[in-house]
């Protein structure tokens, strides 16, 4: 398979955003994934979110591991630098990139095999460190690219295409992320664009480790009866706790809401997260009760989705390290090299 350039025919009526870009400017080359693959819907949602947020595409760096999911950065944001790294190690590469230049927006794309199996450790530690990033796991419960073996997020008892059940306990990435200190945690479904796009927008504007577990059915290997990651199964068991809107200024929040039905959260960058509650008893700013809620509802067989947790005052890795505000990759020789006089002094102390 060779590179497939996408015909750049601008539709005259294509809307443009505040930067004068159209949706097309956020696209990449044509996807080579299976027709109907959930991952393609997530790519579309990423394009949509970046367009609506008026993000300059070249200020986004997109990084991934290995897998069908990790291939997708080729299919969006064609004007961004991208890095298809090695299996399970996107988090470390992204961490390093972020250290080098804190001014770019970092988008990490991974799969459930990539993040919950081989790369479980790197997933965990990048979250622990509070790397300022949007980390999306395109979760289909299988290894798509190696043809359908169970991954570590496959539910116990879920059956593969040949009817063989999975015997191992699943890893719930969202619960893990909460426990590890992610400061923005969401779960969604590739088939629910209205829920997914705002969740991605909120993550991109969040400062700190933002994690999204997006269930994304694999039509080739995990969309049959007996799968718990199929389109049908997820639709039937989806239990959204809230509906998110990302708003650029407070002025846009005009409507009156019945008390207790809407929560407004102001993020570091000035954006507002408007949360319309679906589950009345769910508080997305309370980490402990969120973890509790997830466990309870998981036990009932529900797939809880929505913005599950946000800490709007989160700090990131750079704050913890005390790094300079200016990007490290742009520092001058003078800022970095102490010079010969300093060496002469040092020599004197070593005699």
């Amino acid at each position: 398979m060779t590179f497939l350039p996408k015909p750049k025919l601008h539709h005259p009526k294509l809307a443009s955003n505040a930067l004068g870009f159209t949706r097309r400017d956020y696209e990449g080359s044509i996807s080579t994934l299976c027709a109907g693959c959930g991952h393609d819907s997530i790519s579309a949602a990423i394009i949509h979110a970046c367009f609506e947020l008026d993000l300059p595409p070249h200020r986004i760096a997109k990084l991934s591991g290995i897998g069908c999911s990790s291939k997708t950065p080729t299919y969006f944001l064609g004007n961004s630098h991208g890095f298809n790294s090695v299996h399970g190690r996107m988090p470390s590469v992204l961490t390093g990139a972020n250290l080098a230049n804190r001014e770019l927006i970092y988008l990490g794309v991974s799969g459930d095999g990539d993040s919950a199996s081989i790369g479980f450790g790197q997933f965990a530690h990048s979250i622990r460190r509070g790397v300022n990033m949007t980390y999306i796991v395109e979760n289909n419960g299988v290894y798509g690219l190696t043809k359908g073996q169970f991954s570590a997020t496959a539910d116990k008892g879920a059956k593969n295409k040949r009817g063989v059940p999975n015997n191992d306990e699943p890893i719930d990435m969202v619960s893990m992320a909460l426990q590890l200190g992610a400061t923005y945690v969401g779960r969604s479904f590739s088939g629910d664009k209205t829920q997914l796009v705002p969740l991605i927008k909120g993550a991109l504007t969040h400062k700190g480790a933002a994690f999204i577990d997006c269930i994304s059915p694999c039509v080739a290997f995990n969309n049959h009866d007996g799968s718990t990651k199929s389109f049908d199964y997820v639709r039937e068991h989806n239990a959204a706790v809230n509906f998110l809107d990302v708003i650029e200024t407070r002025d846009e929040i005009t409507a009156d809401y019945a008390p207790g039905t809407v929560e407004i959260v102001r993020q570091h960058d000035g954006t507002y997260l408007k949360l319309r509650k679906i589950a009345n008893d769910y508080d997305a700013t309370d980490r402990i009760s969120a973890m509790n809620y997830l466990q309870t509802h998981h036990a009932r067989g529900e797939i809880v989705t929505g913005l599950l947790y946000v800490d709007p005052d989160a700090e990131d890795m750079h704050a913890a390290l005390g790094t300079a505000m200016a990007p490290l990759n742009g520092m001058s020789d003078e800022a970095l090299v102490p010079g010969n006089a300093a060496l002469a002094k040092l020599n004197a102390s070593l005699r």
Binding site: M1, N84, G96, N101, H125, L336, V337, L343, A344, R351
Partner: protein, 612 residues
Amino acid sequence: MSQLQAVNDFVVKFANVNGSGSASANKLFAQAVLRMGVPATPRNIFPSNIQGLPTWYEVRISDKGYMGARGGTDLMVAMNPQTWDADIKSIVPGGYLFYDSTRAIPASKFRADINVIGMPLTQICNAEYTLSRERQLFKNIIYVGALAALLDMDTDAIKGLLADQFKGRDKLIQANYHALALGHSYALANLPCPIGLRLEKSDKVGDRIFFEGNAAAGLGAVYGGATVCAWYPITPSTSLAEGFTKYCERFRKDRETGEKRFAIVQAEDELASIGIVIGAAWNGARAFTATSGPGISLMQEFLGLAYFAEIPAVLFDVQRAGPSTGMPTRTQQCDLLSAAYASHGDTKHVLLFPEDPNECFTMGAEAFDLADRLQTPIFVMLDLDIGMNDRLCEPLVWDDSRKLDRGKVMTAEDLESGRVFGRYLDVDGDGIPYRTYPGTHPTKGSYFTRGTSRDRFARYTEEGAAYQDNMERLLHKFATAAKIVPGPIRRDAKEPTRLGAIYYGSTAPAMDEAVDLLTEQGIALDILRIRAFPFSEDVERFIEDHDQVFVVEQNRDAQMRTMIINELEINPKKLQRVLHYDGSPITARFISGSLAETAASLKIVPLRKAVS
């Protein structure tokens, strides 16, 4: 009984218990010798634990300036009952034993052919101090005082060092002076001072400095402009990352705001360390990791990616013997092959071999220029012997007019001016393409980084021809590397010889001395110190110039020899193995002994004899 006689030329070995605070007292002794102008080279020999196991500190004192390990002990300071028997055994006939005589030791535990000097150290200490920590620490200073008397040393040098060390803490200085005097006067009054080994003031140290290789390499990274360091603790590399941290805190912290112009991450493992380095380097920061053999093993997959994706990473590999149990605190040069050909697929990497702390500094800095110029991983191959020991070396200098060479990077202006950008396009004919940093330009210069499967413009392709084209360019780039890495240093014998020896890294001081020993035996030897891989043409020429070439290394499998045979297609019969790999540093006696023996077995008549 014979009494060994020597001035400024002997070996003192301290046998201690790990964690007893002896390390700083022993270093104090070595530094005092240096302050007297006499070259001294200490070596720590320590176990892989924190407290309770034996450690040794060996100080080679040599007015001639020999800095390699010598082998044998002339004066043993035996402070560890656990290792008593072996310690006594290692003393040369006529040598001296200094020990704590508080508790009686049966006569059978001594040797008849050595000179025994007992001093009731514990008893003196217990009488003087009540706190157990004080007793332990000052006991060390007391024996340094006694040694000064026994060796006829000048205590001013020691006092000066103590004053420097505890600057501003007068009470501590006085307390140390007191302990020192206690040991010194006891020895003068009760022991046969001076013994046959003596120290006299000399002028052989000059302006040289006394520095640890790891610290020097960490400082080199500061001067090389490294801003990101990711590492995972492993002996013997840990003090390199710590050195970088220390010098960054000193030189790279904003005086007013406290902002740091560096970022150091202690990663969760070596996979993450190298991943962070690769991510940072991809994004235009200079980044490195410090590790040892087991870490290099874990980094293999990423190193392949960095090679194919052409990411400028720097790795300091402070080599040690084998796996993680038993020998991790012993020195070797055993990672050459796993570094040079690290990873899957056809890969080759650039290696640098510093010989001492000075080169750890210069190569530590230069590695970053090379990485950026060549856009590939660069390994700086230290080992425990130079990494974790203080060593006398030339003072460090920096040319203030020097600019960090960031290699081929296209800026927004370059892109705007219409210059063609192909991430894997060889525009200059040296195999090195241009790169852009992420975020450079809104519409030009972005590209997608992946291992292989792309064409010269970084577009996805699985076509064999495009893959092969790229692989050929990478080879061409490696040939360019051979021209710009530090070249070998050749030193020919005074008279023509058919014998040559190749060596590298920490073997250098032992080699220098071995050449002298061989010359005394009438064997002339030309030597070549390899400083980098890929090899420059000079290596090939050196081998051509000689009938037999010894390759002296500190590993079992003759790894450098293998690389020479492999890369230069040299007839293996021409290259003789000289291998030292028991975990102790190679010695001059070992080198000269095995060279002389092999030369004899090859029936190579020393040229001088053949002619006369």
